[in-house]
């Protein structure tokens, strides 16, 4: 089948993504009308760690303990980064700190995917960056090539040898996903097990997945509602609205608004009020699916 298939659908197999997709429908290799995406408002984020702990609870993440943490072998899929204001090499705290929740950005053109020797990580039809634990042989090339360094490797056999879940703690483990073992790579999946259920329910009832029908664990926990998650292809969804309102387009490596702004600044005119949506390391063209909203600070109090 496949060689004939190859010759028949040659053009289909030659699409690149996401830049020259003519919409997602006409492409059988990427048929879904769902594209999961996120928007994180750094202004609302208080850095309280609720999302991170929720992730531990939902995704069976191993607690590695002090010694392994010291070796940088921690397993938190969602990490909260804390930055200070900087002036000539010194940190200053007058305007507080800045917090940045960082998890797998589910890139549309993910650097990790191409390099995996066994194809354990692929781009799923609903726009996720899948990680097939049982296929992984642990070459760690994906993490080596990940600009965000958000993939986490099972350096030890946490379930069996390291006793990460002393009885009865193993009863807390979420049966909807595997407990990863020694030698496989893992990372944030946008709570695949939840989106999976939502999509099946929708399919069984012959409808689309409604906005807000599925929440990721971090989103659900976040006390300030800084995280929103949903289907970018559904114009009614909050995420789609946010992206559109912030003028961030998933298919661009440089957003028009930024080009605009640069032009204006180039003619050293004072630019009008800006929008605060941006994607981290966008310029490397991984086309990340997470949009961050800049943290706003009021100067009037300073």
């Amino acid at each position: 089948m496949s060689v004939s298939n190859l010759l028949e659908n040659w053009s289909k197999f030659r699409h690149t993504h996401p830049v020259d997709d003519k919409g997602h429908e006409d492409w059988e290799a990427y048929p879904s009308d769902i594209k999961w995406a996120m928007a994180i408002d750094l202004d609302a984020c208080t850095g309280c760690n609720a999302c991170s702990v929720a992730c531990y609870a939902e995704n069976n993440l191993a607690v590695v303990g002090k010694e392994k943490y010291a070796h940088g072998q921690e397993m938190h899929w969602m990490r909260i980064e804390r930055y200070w204001g900087e002036e000539n090499g010194e940190f200053h705290a007058e305007q507080g700190a800045q917090f940045l929740p960082m998890m797998c950005q589910q890139c549309e053109a993910a650097p990790c995917e191409t390099v995996c020797p066994v194809g354990a990580t692929n781009h799923t039809e609903d726009g996720l960056n899948s990680q097939i634990y049982n296929r992984c042989i642990g070459s760690r090339y994906c993490e080596a090539n990940c600009p965000y360094k958000v993939r986490y490797f099972n350096w030890y056999n946490y379930p069996e040898q390291e006793g990460a879940w002393p009885s009865p703690m193993e009863q807390q483990l979420n049966p909807d996903l595997t407990v990863r073992t020694k030698g496989v790579m893992e990372k944030c999946t946008f709570c695949k097990q939840r989106t999976y259920v939502a999509r099946n329910n929708a399919r069984n009832e012959g409808r689309e997945v409604a906005d807000g029908e599925v929440q990721t664990a971090c989103q659900q926990a976040c006390p300030t509602g800084a995280i929103s998650f949903g289907n970018l292809h559904d114009p009614a969804s909050k995420v789609a609205k946010q992206w559109a309102q912030q003028g961030v387009d998933i298919n661009k490596d440089k957003q028009d608004k930024d080009k605009e702004r640069e032009k204006i600044e180039h003619q050293d005119k004072e630019p009008e009020k800006a929008l605060r949506g941006y994607r981290i390391l966008e310029e490397l063209r991984p086309y990340p699916s997470v949009m961050y909203l800049e943290r706003v600070r009021d100067e009037s109090a300073v």
């Binding site: 390099v115 020797p117 066994v118 042989i137 070459s139 760690r140 600009p147 030698g183 490397l284």
Partner: protein, 455 residues
């Protein structure tokens, strides 16, 4: 002082001298052999420990996922290139001084490739699943990801390994025949008569032999180049600063030839001593090799410079940071050591009186190898500890003893293979030495005729 191979040496003599090296080993041989065995077993021990407890014991971490294994892997791959250089390239260029030494150079190629192969397995988190990476039609109908440079590596190394094994074998068929004819009866004679495939040196055999040898040589050269360019593309194809460098493929190839030649000098000296090959592995040959090495060293240095320059004059701040960190950060000592060993030490080779000074050259060649190993480490490590994402930088990452142990062990493995090889295959190509001697004598004869003619 520098006496070359005698032209009037009896061909029978050649046979005797070389075949001697196949028989009853000296004490020194055993010492080396068991030493190697010991070192290798250390490596095995570490690997078992790592296999049981998981990759973590090598003290890598989540931002710093690769370490000495990959570095040493590249080192061994690199070492393999010299064999091809000597046997294939110089063969096509009819440089007949290569003839006494190319055999063991090729052996070196083969064995260092085998060693490199080990590291692929050692590096994997789930080595017991390694078959997932092989392209075979399975019940699941899933295939490896042919886009991955790692897979290209696997393919290239396989091709290279098998081709050079074949090349080595074909090249030594006539010598097997000699061994068959001269060795006293016994299992070894049987072995050689099998290996010789009934070679009799008929004109038909020689005719096809010549063509085949040349063709394979022609294939080997682009192959060797491609192999190391592909290894380079493991890095160049990625997005990471300090890796995503256009000049990497040639840079790697040069580095490979460099370390290879250095290794040849080392082994040249060792073999010369262990098997008393002064007759054949003569100082002029050493001198030529040394000069070749020096030339390559300069090429490597040059490529180094342009790499730094191109980073320096690019607008890629991130890549620049990595470079600066290499020179000033926690890796600085190793980085400068690499520069010293790789670009400064070779200048010793400029001086005629050192070129044939065995002890000096031995020391130098070792230093060069060290430098080239450091180079590989300096390619792999600093990018991880100073990549795109400052939050995940990690300057305290230091390989654990397990990691060092396995690297150490690989040298044992290599030596082990090599020592065994020396006892089975004539490590000097007898028939080609004969050719060499023959051509020399012809040439001198012609000269004399010429002189007489002048009168």
């Amino acid at each position: 002082m520098t006496k070359d191979i005698r032209e009037d040496i009896a061909w029978a003599q050649i046979n005797q001298d070389v075949l001697k090296s196949l028989e009853n080993p000296r004490k020194l041989y055993w010492v080396i052999l068991f030493g190697a065995l010991l070192v290798f077993s250390v490596g095995i021990g570490c690997e078992i420990y790592q296999y049981i407890n998981g990759m973590g014991v090598s003290n890598k971490n989540n931002s710093h996922v690769w370490g000495l294994y990959i570095a040493t892997f590249i080192f061994w791959i690199g070492m393999s290139h010299s064999g091809t250089l000597l046997s294939a390239i110089l063969h096509l260029m009819h440089a007949d001084w290569r003839k006494p030494i190319y055999r063991f150079a090729e052996a070196m190629t083969t064995f260092s490739l085998m060693t490199a192969g080990l590291f692929v397995a050692v590096h994997l988190g789930r080595v017991w699943q390694i078959y997932y990476a092989l392209p075979y039609p399975s019940e699941r109908w899933v295939w490896p990801n042919f886009q991955s440079p790692l897979l290209w590596d696997a393919m290239a190394i396989f091709t290279y390994l098998s081709s050079s094994v074949i090349f080595l074998y074909i090249g030594s068929i006539p010598d097997f025949a000699i061994a068959r004819d001269n060795i006293h009866p016994g299992w070894r004679k049987k072995l050689y008569s099998i290996l010789a495939l009934g070679w009799e040196g008929t004109d038909r055999q020689w005719r096809n032999f010549r063509i085949t040898y040349m063709t394979v040589a022609c294939f080997l050269i682009p192959l060797a180049v491609s192999v190391h360019s592909i290894v380079a593309s493991d890095f160049a194809m990625s997005q990471q600063p300090g890796w995503h460098v256009t000049s990497f493929p040639p840079y790697f190839v040069a580095g490979a030839l460099y370390s290879g030649c250095a290794a040849i000098i080392t082994l040249f000296i060792i073999l010369r001593y262990v098997f008393k090959f002064e007759e054949y592995m003569t100082l002029p040959i050493l001198k030529k090799t040394v000069r070749l090495t020096f030339a390559i060293a300069m090429v490597w240095t040059y490529l180094n410079c342009i790499e730094f320059a191109s980073v320096w004059y690019s607008h890629d701040q991130v890549a620049k940071d990595v470079l600066i960190q290499k020179a000033t950060g926690p890796y600085a000592p190793f980085w400068w050591a690499m520069i010293f060993c790789g670009s400064v030490v070779p200048f010793v080779m400029m001086f005629k009186r050192f070129q044939t000074n065995i002890p000096v050259m031995f020391a130098v060649s070792l230093l060069l190898n060290l430098g080239m190993w450091l180079e590989r480490w300096m390619i792999v490590a600093p990018t991880f500890s100073h990549g795109y994402y400052p939050w995940t930088w990690d300057h305290d990452q230091w390989p654990s003893l397990i990691q060092w142990g396995i690297v150490f062990g690989s040298f044992g493995w290599f030596t082990l293979l090599f020592m065994v090889f020396c006892k089975i295959v004539p490590s000097v190509s007898m028939y080609e030495v004969k050719e060499m001697v023959y051509h020399r004598s012809q040439a001198t004869k012609k000269k004399q005729l010429g002189i007489e003619g002048a009168h």
